[in-house]
Symmetry: C2
Subunit: 431 residues, 2 copies
């Protein structure tokens, strides 16, 4: 399937935030041309296009990367709100999760993927049980997923052990063009030292980065200080966890010393402002991280804690929460936030071919409709995206060269009403 | 124009947050029936309907009330961001505003109204110059507006004086079914005592409520303490400003004593979390206000400071900012926030016929599409609206019995591209 997008504004994110006027070609799953209008030259040696889309002056940009989520938790949306994190996890979330089947996880992941598409998200960094079912959902819908192992002592599945994790690492990194797999664990507070040492050994064996929840709540950090005499980040680093990079999800309650580890090891902070606010966990020191040159990505976290999976809401939260925290209306400017939501996430997720719009890259992109009142007038497009943009502006979402969402319709190989029906059946059975 | 909505879930907001299944009739501009399905009874004495809409199990609810905004400031969206409030006002906003014509204000207000409709907002509490042009925009589009006088010492228009304010109070309260007018002033910090005394005298003369910006920034409160020896709220109350009610916009930096005035006088706090965050003004003590039984409404503030005009984003911000401020995930629960955005706003704006969905009330309502991934599964509809709802769920917006927005199309008597073109012409001329 070859597609030509013409009459477009294009934010390539290659180098800076400048916007070019022109066209973009997709041949198969790759971008083959980005630049000035071509057809007007009267050339006839253009490739064959199955479809030519008049973008009507709207914006093509790289798809958003949702760098931390638990997709299948859609079943808990609006089910257990308004509780502190640890109570919420142990009393509401873990008992419900224990009842899930693999087939449930398949359908619930699909529901989340629909929501990602409406928000222009083209890949997720997904921590959940049952990689077989999670990858099946992504592959069947044509969506790109980087799985992150979420092993813990309390794991919801007996299959989650170090041996299987190593098998999965091999299997899901050679499984399908849309799927990759990252070493990880749930968090320092749900793992004893032998398990963590096992993870670190795997990381060294494969020279592979490691991700986990890290310093999400004050209580978590205090417990670690008591138990291990140091913070989660420093403790994990002492175990050799970050010798080959990686990073942490949340990173709300991090110290200067922790951030020095992030800086030294080239780790990524994946920030989750919606979840951290809704669960009253706190505001991450993003401004400090930016000043230290630490790579930052943005995740929605799962739908049980946010409860929406909307990158526009997250981008707005990242910037306005920093402005509040720093008492500085200039904190976390729009361009930097847009970078986090796209290229910053791609870097975290190892998606080096899906970060920018350039010839040779994979075609993971979105069209944002500028012909909507919230994007008018056009004083500054990147500011419009971050400060007033919304899911409603997402006109088209393309993953790996295929249009999966366009003009409010989904092209994911299944009637969406069927996916909604399944999700409701599951919650009715479980509660 | 008579419309029958059937096969609907209906959140009437009359008394509680329960949702009924049934139908709703609109005859002319009024709701004439809300309740169980009727046609199935085989009755033939139903009114004539021009249109019968199958709501397909989606939700009908009262339209949102945007209880503080400056609509015509759309021209400054993404123009002057990332500056502290007072710098921003004096160096960027006031000089640009001074160049606006009445015709500019007419077109720029229309652009804001389009955005309100996409977010399910059916009325705005609008503080701006040139009431003739602001009301013309609302009337021409069929939108409901409560104007609030915004008089100050630095006023952008020579017409803004006490005599004209009194004339406008008469004129625009007897002008058109869609328009009303409220006594108000810009703020304590932009008015000397004689002007404020004049406003208070008008309020007493007409037994009318008064609104203004109040305690938005710390600097504003400190200046007032220095100048008047007390806080803005107490100072204004001492001048007799609140003898007949009213309230304040923002109310971020309010003391216990201030809130006691709000409680005693039955005043409304109009909270503006997006603007207060983006300008680093702070987080209003909403939880304290709720505990004191103070009426709270929600406003987007103008598009120069937010920069979007989206009630879903504001509702989410109200609740998550309180959870952060109070370090309590149970703070500002969803139902209460939904009340603020609808009935709380209606109360503030004197829209006593547009607050709930009951027979006899004016037909200002919205349909929210529940058949979208962010609203599935359906564990709890009011939580879904506040925690994961978005503009994308707004399927239809009806004001005064007329559909102005449906399935992403506007029915406002003018091609929207023309409104966008005008806004861009204006900014190109002004800058």
């Amino acid at each position: 399937m070859n597609t030509r997008f013409y009459n477009a504004k294009i934010l390539t994110m290659a180098g800076d935030f400048s916007i070019i006027e022109g066209e973009l070609w997709v041949e198969g799953n790759r971008i083959t041309y980005v630049g000035e209008p071509k057809k007007e030259n009267g050339k006839t040696s253009l490739p064959y296009f199955d479809r030519e889309i008049d973008v009507k002056g709207n914006l093509i940009m790289p798809g958003f990367k949702n760098a931390h989520t638990h997709s299948a938790m859609t079943f808990l949306r609006s089910y257990a709100d308004d509780l502190p994190l640890l109570d919420w996890l142990h009393k509401q979330i873990f008992p419900m999760e224990a009842k899930l089947t693999g087939e449930d996880i398949y359908h619930l992941s699909k529901l989340a993927i629909l929501e990602y598409l409406t928000s222009g998200i083209t890949a997720n960094f997904d921590m959940y049980f049952s990689p077989e079912d999670v990858t099946r959902a992504s592959i069947d819908m044509g969506f790109r997923s980087v799985l992150c192992a979420g092993i813990s002592e309390f794991t919801g599945s007996a299959e989650e052990n170090l041996e299987n994790l190593e098998n999965w690492y091999h299997k899901y990194n050679h499984h399908h063009d849309l799927i990759s797999y990252c070493i990880g664990f749930h968090g320092e507070y749900t793992a004893e030292r032998p398990l963590l040492e096992g993870i670190a050994a795997l990381s060294r064996k494969y020279k592979a980065p490691v991700y986990s929840h890290n310093s999400e709540t004050k209580a978590e950090v205090e417990q670690c200080l008591k138990k291990n005499g140091t913070t989660p980040t420093v403790y994990l680093d002492q175990l050799g966890m970050f010798d080959h990079g990686g990073g942490g999800y949340h990173c709300v309650h991090v110290t200067e010393e922790d951030l020095a580890v992030f800086q030294k090891r080239g780790l990524t902070v994946v920030t989750n402002p919606g979840s951290n606010s809704k669960l009253a966990s706190g505001i991450a020191p993003i401004t400090k991280m930016l000043n230290m040159g630490i790579n930052i990505a943005i995740g929605t976290d799962g739908p049980a804690s946010n409860n929406g999976l909307d990158m526009f809401r997250e981008m707005y939260l990242v910037t306005v929460l920093q402005k509040l925290k720093e008492d500085d209306a200039a904190a976390a400017p729009a361009d930097q936030v847009l970078y986090m939501a796209t290229a910053g996430g791609a870097k975290a997720m190892g998606l080096n071919e899906m970060d920018t719009l350039e010839a040779g890259k994979k075609a993971d992109l979105v069209i944002l409709d500028l012909h909507q009142p919230n994007m008018q007038p056009i004083n500054n497009i990147t500011k419009n995206i971050v400060y007033s943009g919304s899911k409603q502006n997402v006109k088209l979402t393309m993953v790996n060269g295929k249009v999966l969402y366009e003009d409010n319709q989904f092209y994911v190989g299944e009637d969406v009403e069927n996916i909604y029906r399944k999700a409701n059946e599951i919650i009715n059975r479980l509660r």
